[in-house]
Symmetry: C2
Subunit: 355 residues, 2 copies
């Protein structure tokens, strides 16, 4: 059964809607004081993410504050490699760390596809809790990191800007790297299908680092595996279609290939023009994006002007589908009232584009 | 008078050459033990960059080791704002810092165009020294940071990944931000012309951070100013044309606009296909790039294969012009022998593409 407000799902499937739906990447996050309060109560980021009741609480926080058209599961993108036994932790003030680093034949051969109903049950439990709390008002998005993005952290052992180790393995030992990506692909497919089974009404694959790859390597080592995941996804659940979104940050060079990946929609960052991409891919899939998150540091007038510019750029909806979003996660220093103005502007200004 | 080996200049001007010329961004750098030795002797990076004799010494080091087709002035991209009195320094193990940060009406109004023959004389002196030392074997490239990239450091006061302050000013106070860019443009034009006057035989504008801008904002706040610089550049010196190169890291969304900027060539990073860009811009300008620098971490066979793939991707030269380069600066952990193999492969393999 579709939620009362199914604008987001309709836009992904390119069905007619009354206005342009909007949600924001990382909408449940540190820019919200209530999130910081819950996180402090949880004790750590991992404890927050691994507790279905607290994960549900923070997922609902932005939805209670703003008229968002979708909720997104609160979780971390590295849950899957953690469930493979790599030992995820977050050092204070730093990014994620893995205890076990995957860089040779032995560590690669020890990788396995975790049963999502075992080690990742806290995630599907959170999905169930969130669906209950949402009470079918708006849809819930499930998500996972992409096989390549997960591999970046698994091989580097932590965040990286140069990706020296992962790229060295990719160029020097493509066979070994393909093995990691293959396990990740099977694991992510099972993980997303378990989220769908538990109640996720759309799914998104976050390929945070695919844009660091060279042109051919992106197709071979990132997109090819996301395509396999999309092929293996449950396409319908409880009688409703479950649309999928692929988002590679910095995907400008590959928009045509992504449009042909089988996913229903493509995320785009702010470097591209939505109107140009739309023409380039001839409305093949819906587009999600693409306001620069830094716009939210400006005052209300600027925010409203820039939101309009994104909607103008996409143009009349016609056969297209546009989900308004930022081009990247919302910054932790964003004033919450900026989000309120943005959501309001998208809803009110976009109406005339849907006639 | 053109240098004995003028392959690089010819390729930029799309004249016929015997093979594809190659040089590498940051070719005089920390991956070379002799560079580290000179830098240690200088005492600091700034002392190295500001001493014309030492700057000349390190500029020549990669040229002595490898059969490179161009030398590039050893200098920092932040010399211009330093000459504006902003007080550049490098904290050990960190990036650049400015003592004076430019974030309000007052600090913006105090900016001025530095006389390149005064505060920046150490740069033109280095150009003169290097030309003497090169003895007309290969051409010397002069360079500057782009107005936008310089503004990033001037407003942030240091390196940034989010560019919160600079983007906040851009969105909130475009008038103020345009003032900074206007001063920078005049300063960079005078600076590059002084380098040409002193002997630089080609010039390159490094727009390291333009790719962080939203689609329209890149055109308004970065490319428009680079175009003005190109318009104001000395086009011929001592009877020879002085070609110009614009390089914005992450420029995939704007290649057509850059091709129409007036510059003779465009730098490209590894995310794009040279062949596709070439078609897109219909050979309007020469292309420089675009090997992933991480390839140089692999063994010789992989390096040679990947170098061939870039040359294959560009295709037969015809009316085009290709300068082989990395898509970004060479990493400090690169084994020097990898560079030797790369240069050798580019020279030998490319011959058949020039028939």
């Amino acid at each position: 059964m579709r939620p009362e407000n199914d604008t987001f799902l309709k836009a992904l499937l390119k069905e007619k809607t009354e206005y342009t739906p909007v949600w924001l990447m990382r909408q449940a996050g540190r820019y919200l004081p209530e999130y910081c309060e819950t996180r402090a109560r949880a004790g750590s980021f991992m404890k927050l993410a691994m507790n279905p009741y607290l994960a549900c609480e923070v997922t609902l926080q932005p939805v209670e504050r703003f008229s968002l058209d979708a909720a997104i599961l609160f979780s971390d993108i590295l849950t899957v490699p953690d469930a493979m036994g790599l030992g995820l932790s977050f050092a204070a003030g730093e990014g994620p760390r893995f205890e076990k680093i995957v860089r040779d034949e032995k560590t690669v051969s020890e990788l396995f596809v975790p049963d999502p109903n075992d080690k990742l049950k806290y995630v599907t439990d959170a999905v169930v809790e969130i669906r209950k709390a949402l009470n079918n008002r708006i849809p819930l998005i499930g998500f996972s990191g992409s096989p390549f993005t997960l591999a970046c952290y698994m091989v580097e052992g932590r965040s990286s800007t140069s990706f020296s180790n992962v790229k060295k393995m990719m160029y020097q030992r493509p066979d070994l790297f393909h093995k990691i990506l293959d396990v990740n692909t099977k694991a992510v497919t099972a993980y997303l299908n378990a989220q769908i089974e538990a109640g996720a009404q759309a799914v998104m694959i976050f390929d945070s680092w695919g844009g660091a790859l060279a042109n051919r390597q992106y197709r071979e080592f990132s997109l090819a595996y996301m395509k396999k995941i999309v092929e293996g996804l449950t396409k319908e659940h409880d009688g409703d279609k479950v649309p999928s979104i692929i988002f590679t940050k910095g995907d400008a060079p590959w928009v045509e290939e992504i449009a042909n990946s089988g996913a229903d929609a493509m995320g785009l960052d702010w470097t591209v023009s939505l109107g140009s991409v739309r023409k380039q891919i001839q409305d093949k899939v819906a587009l999600q994006g693409n306001l620069d998150p830094a716009v939210l540091f400006a005052d209300e007038k600027v925010i409203r002007d820039q939101a309009r510019a994104v909607i103008d750029d996409y143009g009349m909806i016609g056969n297209g589908g546009h989900v308004f979003n930022l081009g990247h996660g919302i910054d932790k220093t964003t004033p919450p009232e900026s989000v309120g103005a943005l959501v309001d502007e998208v809803h009110s200004y976009s109406v005339k584009f849907h006639r």
